[in-house]
Amino acid sequence: MERTDLLHLYRQMLLIRRFEEKSAEMYALAKIAGFLHLYIGEEAVAVGAIAALRPDDYVISAYRDHGYCLARGSDPGRIMAELFGKATGLCKGKGGSMHLIDCEKRFMGGYAIVGGHIPLATGLAFATKYEQGDGVTVCFFGEGAFPSGQAHEAFNLAALWKLPLIFMCENNRYGMGTPVHRAVALYSDIAETARSYGLPAERVDGMDVLAVRSLMEQTVKRVRAGQGPAFVEALTYRFMGHSMADPSHGHYRTREEVEEHRQRDPLVLLQRTICDHDLGSDADFKQLEHEVHEQVAAAVTFAETSPFPEPSALYEDVLVTE
């Protein structure tokens, strides 16, 4: 284990955590509207998985997408500006929270029809293979999307055509308010269903960023080498409600259950590992808190001071006009 590396992973997770907390605050102040799905609790999945990738690999996800975009290295200011609906946002204010897209970072977007982006991932991977590149695509989706028909069409096509694609099933236990055991037949081992398509499939502790990265490094290596697609199930938990409209506990899960999972907060787990190995001190963590606080504050200032789109922008970008 190496100090700089671990502190970097911690910093990335911390940035997502503080960014999301600030987003919730901005939502409460009505600076952000619409649907807002926070990634708090699941940071280790995005950070661990994306740490195993190259900058030219593709990443695509569902709508709880701030974490991937930040982990991919997008400018937090432009993400916050997008949430504010400002012209300086990643998507000029046309996408919003659920449709963050940053082509430069090869983050091909956030999609909000459950299961609908999974076939797109096969296409990104297909293009890489068609052009004989050695890039891979990672497709993040929740266990709520797993039973959807489009997911299974994509599993089959990817396996059939040996596409360089990793399906990352982020099992946070609830599709909105429906627990996984009421939605997926083989809920106790989702990866087992994936294996029936011929996809090598593994399960990982999604609260442990090092475990996620380690499994992803091995998986990416095989996929990059042309051995076909793979499936990873990361067991995680969202600490907040499904969206800002949903309290963190209540109708479908208890406060005790949420508290129990909070004991395995991915940031706390990594901090403990770092301290146990004497690779970081309180001063280091304080310094990181300070840096991230400044970064998020700057993102908010950028969003606040940015202009809203001009009315003329309404009709721009519908089609490519030559």
């Binding site: 999974i118 076939p119 296409g123 069409e153």
Partner: protein, 325 residues
């Protein structure tokens, strides 16, 4: 040279695939089977299975794959065995193909063609006989093309393949075997331009795809009765070339719109609205629409014939709009 509509499509795709290695054809039975309607005859032999991809029966899956490939810079042609099956891919077409450019603030383009036959053939029943162009035209972000002749089919398909946007390309089973003169050598026809298929002075008939042939037939018969029909083929349904239609209306003052799709919320209603809003003062009377009946398509030949516009109905509508009904 004289070509069938099917051969014209085949030529268009073949020429474009020879020109640009990023273009690939994907769909059910497009390869070794040579296409369900033989449009891709000889393709897998010439271009190989890497560029001519037979898929499992998964319209959402392979349409989504093609959209993803277009996002990454390839130029897919998706063949839907019939556009009825496109309903299974509607989420991909409507939520992804049509919206990704806008949602991304212009970062991503989706240059692709989704093509296949729409409308009824003969007694294929309710699920295989639909004219769904109004569904596609309703969604901003995709162009919709529906050529009626082999010449237009070739030129427009080449333009569609070269377009930077998703283009829904509507063919018809009953058009595949029809023949017509096709210009020799390289040519394209711009998307968004209607054509006057027959000039006349008494009444404007707007008709596209298979219905264009019906309108031409009816016009022939009407000319023997001294009625001079002008026929406009929009060729592209979105964006609609309203100017060419209106230029004709200014001349004739009377309009009949023929479409095979259902009447309620049909494309003809939109065409009529477009004419009313800019050319109301040039009209001598209300626009008359000849449409499919608002029923699922029945199997029985007698009933099917009753559900689809035919020559007597077009002739009757023309006479009615001229006050000779």
């Amino acid at each position: 040279m004289l070509l069938s509509y099917r051969e014209a499509l085949n030529q268009a795709m073949r020429e474009e695939m020879r020109r640009d290695a990023r273009i690939f054809l994907i769909g059910e039975e497009v390869g070794y089977y040579q296409g369900a309607f033989k449009v891709s005859k000889g393709f897998v032999e010439e271009f190989g299975p890497q560029r001519v991809l037979d898929t499992p029966i998964t319209e959402a899956g392979f349409t989504g794959l093609a959209i993803g490939a277009a996002m990454a810079g390839l130029r897919p042609i998706v063949e839907l065995m019939t556009l009825n099956f496109g309903i299974l891919a509607m989420d991909q077409i409507v939520n992804n193909a049509a919206k990704i450019r806008y949602m991304s603030g212009g970062q991503i383009s989706v240059p692709m063609v989704i093509r296949g036959p729409g409308s009824a053939a003969h007694q294929l029943g309710a699920q295989h006989s639909q004219s769904l162009e109004a569904w596609f035209c309703h969604v901003p972000g995709i162009k919709v093309v529906a050529p009626s002749t082999p010449h237009d089919a070739k030129g427009l398909l080449k333009s569609a393949i070269r377009d930077q946007n998703p283009v829904l390309f509507i063919e018809a089973q009953l058009l595949y075997g029809t023949k017509g003169e096709v210009r020799d050598g390289e040519y394209t026809i711009p998307i968004g331009e209607a054509e006057v298929k027959r000039s006349g002075s008494d009444v404007t008939v707007v008709a596209y795809s298979k219905m264009l042939l019906l309108a031409m037939d009816a016009a022939e018969e009407l000319s023997r009765e001294g009625i001079d029909v002008e026929i406009i083929d929009p060729r592209t349904l979105w964006p609609l070339d309203v100017d060419t239609i209106v230029a004709s209306v200014r001349k004739t003052g009377r309009v009949v719109i023929v479409e095979e799709g259902w009447r309620f919320c049909g494309l003809g209603a939109q065409i009529a609205d477009s004419v009313y809003s800019v050319a109301f003062d040039y009209l001598d009377g209300p626009i008359i629409r000849v449409t499919g009946e608002d029923v699922p398509m029945p199997y029985s030949r007698k009933l099917e014939d009753a559900a689809i516009p035919d020559r007597p109905r077009v002739i009757e509508a023309v006479k009615q709009v001229l006050g000779r009904g």
